[in-house]
């Protein structure tokens, strides 16, 4: 483990180069190029705002554009990282077969390049918070902590999925559907409070609201972002703590899975 760490340190220039490559290739040949980092979330915010304040006004929430934007940005960070990480090893087969380097840099660079994108998109968020009169409170200082927890969770998923794709090429297709479902199951464009507290399903009474929170690490992460950036109040500490533990667990398991197979990757991709 220590040796892997030292090696990653030695290859940090490669990590940096791959992050830059990811960012460059994403916007290569597009007219607006880098501006898309800012434009994409704004358009998404617009779409959801039109949908939920004009077309379906009964579900409306005060200051809906900000409500949805604070959740959408972290979600896009997660979802783009996960989708791109599935092919991060397989897509670089030509490198793996020709040159030795610590394979960890592949999923790492994918997630970190999305983190850079997310950090830039936060500029848009703060701009919109000024425009839409969002709350600037002391709790904003917790933002790096929540991002760190999300990063840990995302890395765990990325290590697992990039390895799984080496052995099963339909992982990206499965994740496509799964991420859509996950998007709807996470309170992004609706407040978690609209979920029923007791719902009978096949004779069992379920507290859907609590289940959505407990079973979905992204739900409590998104809720934490929303509480500090939209409500301007402290996050639910017990949930944040539990999610941190879950995230670290995911990273350990995901990385162990990656480690178990990384040696044979050159032969399998």
């Amino acid at each position: 483990m220590l040796q892997t760490w030292r090696e990653l340190l030695q290859y940090r220039f490669l990590l940096k180069q791959l992050i830059i490559l990811n960012l460059k290739v994403r916007y290569k040949n597009s007219v607006l190029g880098f501006l898309w980092t800012f434009l994409n979330p704004l358009f998404m915010m617009l779409v959801f705002t039109v949908l939920f304040t004009i077309m379906l006004p009964q579900a409306s929430v005060p200051n809906f554009p900000l409500f949805v934007l604070v959740a959408l940005l972290p979600w896009q960070f997660f979802s783009n990282s996960v989708m791109m990480s599935t092919s991060s090893v397989v897509g670089n087969a030509h490198l793996i077969k020709k040159v030795y380097f610590p394979r960890e840099v592949l999923p790492l660079s994918t997630v970190l390049s999305n983190l850079v994108n997310f950090a830039l998109a936060l500029v848009v968020l703060f701009g919109m918070m000024v425009v839409l009169r969002g709350p600037f409170t002391i709790w904003i200082l917790l933002l790096p902590l929540i991002i760190a927890v999300q990063l840990i969770f995302t890395l765990g998923c990325a290590f697992f999925l990039s390895t799984a794709t080496v052995f099963y090429r339909d992982v990206p297709m499965i994740m496509d559907v799964l991420m859509l479902a996950w998007f709807f199951l996470t309170p992004i464009f609706y407040p978690i409070s609209i979920l029923p507290q007791s719902r009978e399903l096949l004779g069992v009474v379920l507290n859907v609201q609590r289940l959505a929170y407990i079973l979905n690490p992204m739900a409590s992460l998104i809720a934490s972002y929303r509480v500090i950036l939209y409500d301007g109040s402290p996050p639910a500490w017990d949930f944040l703590l539990r999610t941190t533990v879950t995230a670290i667990g995911f990273l350990i398991l995901g990385y162990l899975f990656f480690r178990r197979f990384r040696r044979s990757m050159a032969e399998e991709v």
């Binding site: 220039f13 490669l14 290569k28 077969k97 020709k98 040159v99 099963y168 090429r169 339909d170 032969e267």
Partner: protein, 248 residues
């Protein structure tokens, strides 16, 4: 003298799966309806042991399929041995394929940095070497053009320029560099000569026995994944020629 590369009882097995499940569905079907598993084992190397002393130029010869490339890939750590142990001291420059990892959309300059990074070089060192690399490649006029506009010869030249100028401790040279024109080939050879004088370790794989005899002090003869002979190049080449000669 210390060993730069050592193979200790190394074997490498490849499993050739003719019907490998690539999708989840295929795996599930495989559970219900077990097809005849047509896996085949192939031992590319068997109990190979040898040492390359730091500073020597070492040749590997043998017919096609003898395991020469597998030896190089094990040295470069691209493959892991099935059993035994491979130890390499110092930085190894993989010449397995020049320009591996070049990205067509990036410029020559960007690719030089990316490629250097791929070899495990630090940012400071890459910047130090940059001018030398460009000078060696003779591509200064094209260095800011995207690589997709390069000819294949230019591509290879840039690849060799990076590989040869990051100053590896162990240089791997696979086959001969059909790189560029004669002038550039001479340049490559003189670079290898320079490495030799500097006392770096060179591992050289070739079908050209003459080049091996010219360059290498010691050689290894592989056949069917086993060591046939190892020793001073002249002796090994002579024995190899004898064995080939008897067949002809």
């Amino acid at each position: 003298m210390s060993a730069a590369v050592s193979f200790d009882d190394v074997s490498k097995r490849f499993v050739l799966r003719h019907e490998r499940a690539y999708t989840v569905l295929e795996s599930v079907i495989g559970l219900v309806k077990p097809t005849r598993r047509s896996t085949e084992e192939f031992w590319a190397l068997r109990e190979v042991s040898f040492e390359i002393v730091a500073g020597e130029t070492f040749g590997i010869i043998g017919p096609n399929g003898a395991g020469k490339s597998t030896v190089l890939k094990l040295m470069a750590r691209i493959l892991e041995p099935t059993s035994g142990e491979v130890t390499v001291r110092g930085r190894i420059s993989p010449l397995l394929e020049l320009g591996a990892g070049f990205h067509p959309e990036l410029t020559g300059r960007e690719n030089v940095y990316l490629n250097a990074a791929l070899f495990g070089v630090s940012q400071a060192e890459a910047q130090d070497r940059y001018d030398q690399i460009v000078e060696f490649s003779e591509l200064r006029d094209f260095i800011d053009a995207p690589l997709k506009h390069y000819s294949s010869g230019m591509y290879m030249r840039l690849g060799f320029a990076v590989a040869a100028n990051i100053i590896p401790d162990v240089l791997l040279v696979d086959e001969f560099l059909a790189v560029g024109d004669e002038a550039f080939q001479k340049k490559c050879l003189s670079k290898i000569e320079e490495f030799r004088r500097e006392g770096r370790t060179i591992v050289f794989v070739s079908h050209s026995l003459r080049t091996v005899e010219d360059l290498c002090s010691r050689a290894l003869w592989l056949d069917h994944g086993r060591v046939e002979a190892i020793g001073p190049t002249a002796d090994v080449v002579e024995r190899y020629l004898e064995s080939v000669g008897t067949g002809a």
